[in-house]
């Protein structure tokens, strides 16, 4: 199990969750991905996308300034 980081604070939706989807695609099942995002829309869309794709959201932490850290785990080989 490896931990990866992805910073999408400079992106707007839908590219935010497309980038998360693409990063998850690269990982092996069991790997952890920590995503830094900014804004209300990505905060809503990214975890929803992760769950919809069949992966797990492990936690969401506020870092201040509208930035959040979303920890997720790849559950199975997917798109």
């Amino acid at each position: 199990m490896t931990v990866f980081q992805l910073d999408i604070t400079r992106y707007c939706c839908p590219l935010t969750f497309v980038k998360v989807k693409a990063q998850l695609y690269r990982l092996a099942p069991g790997d952890i991905l920590e995503v830094r995002l900014k804004g209300a829309e990505p905060l809503e869309n990214v975890p929803a996308t992760v769950v919809r794709e069949g992966h797990a959201v492990l936690g969401i932490e506020s870092l201040g300034g509208g930035v959040h850290l979303v920890r997720m785990q790849k559950m199975a080989a997917g798109a």
Partner: protein, 278 residues
């Protein structure tokens, strides 16, 4: 992989990648796909444009004709400034403008029995949009013998029809249409065609090609899809592989290609073995 998944790739194809049925894996399959469009006319135009927009890796365009004024009513790959130029060149320019990532292979030739087999064999899927029966049968025979899936399409006046052939698995054009027609048949030039229906049908053919490449959904195999745009009626009729088909039946007699003599036009009312009705 890193170059393949850069931000430009993700943004350009984001609307595909967002689809659970496509995703990154599906878009990469599209990128690695090789699709041939036979005929850069009414059907080939929208098909090629949507295949290019989707990011097909290699897009072959086969057409020997030059653009003329009467084409422009429906052959949307070409513009007024292209009159007199080779359709494949006009197509290549337009495709490059839509998506420079697509590698365009031009086949500026009439595909014949001697040449078509080697051409179709280079591709994963063929979109057939030719305007005459001999060529339709030739494409059918070549694809079936080469084992290359293809989409058949035809339009006339307000009517369109299409089916997808998966060689060895589903009905081929001969199974549905029987022997090639003889005698005079109406053509788009003589009977006319409502321009926008070219877009309707060619787009369906592009969707079938992309579905095949990505594995999404169910191909239009063993089914003849017809529409009458006047009432916007769509009908899907089941068809079946004919055990006595001379090409793909239980005892095939056509084992090599031959140039067919015959009349033009892909549409002539009800075909011989159409299992439905308009």
């Amino acid at each position: 992989m890193e170059r393949e998944l850069d931000d430009a790739f993700l943004e350009r194809y984001s609307r595909h990648i967002l689809l659970p049925e496509v995703g990154v894996a599906g878009q990469l399959r599209i990128r690695r796909a090789k699709v041939l469009v036979v005929g850069a006319g009414g059907l080939g135009s929208p098909a090629a444009l949507y295949l290019a927009a989707a990011g097909v890796g290699v897009l072959g365009i086969a057409d020997a004709d030059t653009v003329d004024l009467s084409n422009l009513q429906r052959q949307i790959l070409h513009g007024t400034a292209d009159i007199g130029t080779a359709k494949v060149e006009s197509a290549a320019r337009r495709i490059a403008a839509v998506n420079p990532e697509v590698a365009v292979v031009v086949h500026r030739e009439y595909l014949t029995a001697a040449t078509i087999g080697a051409v179709v064999s280079q591709y994963d899927f063929v979109v057939e949009g030719v305007d005459n029966f001999p060529s339709k049968y030739l494409v059918n025979d070549a694809c079936v013998l080469a084992g290359v899936p293809f989409s058949m399409g035809g339009i006339l006046q307000f009517v369109g029809q299409t089916m997808t052939v998966l060689p060895g698995r589903t009905a081929c054009y001969r199974c549905v249409m029987g022997e090639p027609p003889t005698g005079k048949v109406p053509t788009c030039a003589s009977a006319g065609v409502f321009g926008a229906i070219a877009g309707m049908l060619g787009s369906i053919q592009a969707a079938e090609a992309l579905k095949f490449v990505t594995g999404v959904g169910r191909p239009l195999g063993d089914a003849l899809l017809c529409f009458d745009a006047k009432a916007m009626d769509f009908m899907k009729s089941p068809v079946r592989r004919d055990p006595s088909c001379p090409l793909c039946g239980d005892h095939p007699v056509i084992r090599e290609l031959a140039d067919q003599a015959g009349p033009a036009c892909p549409q002539r009312g009800r075909p011989a073995r159409w299992a439905g009705a308009v």
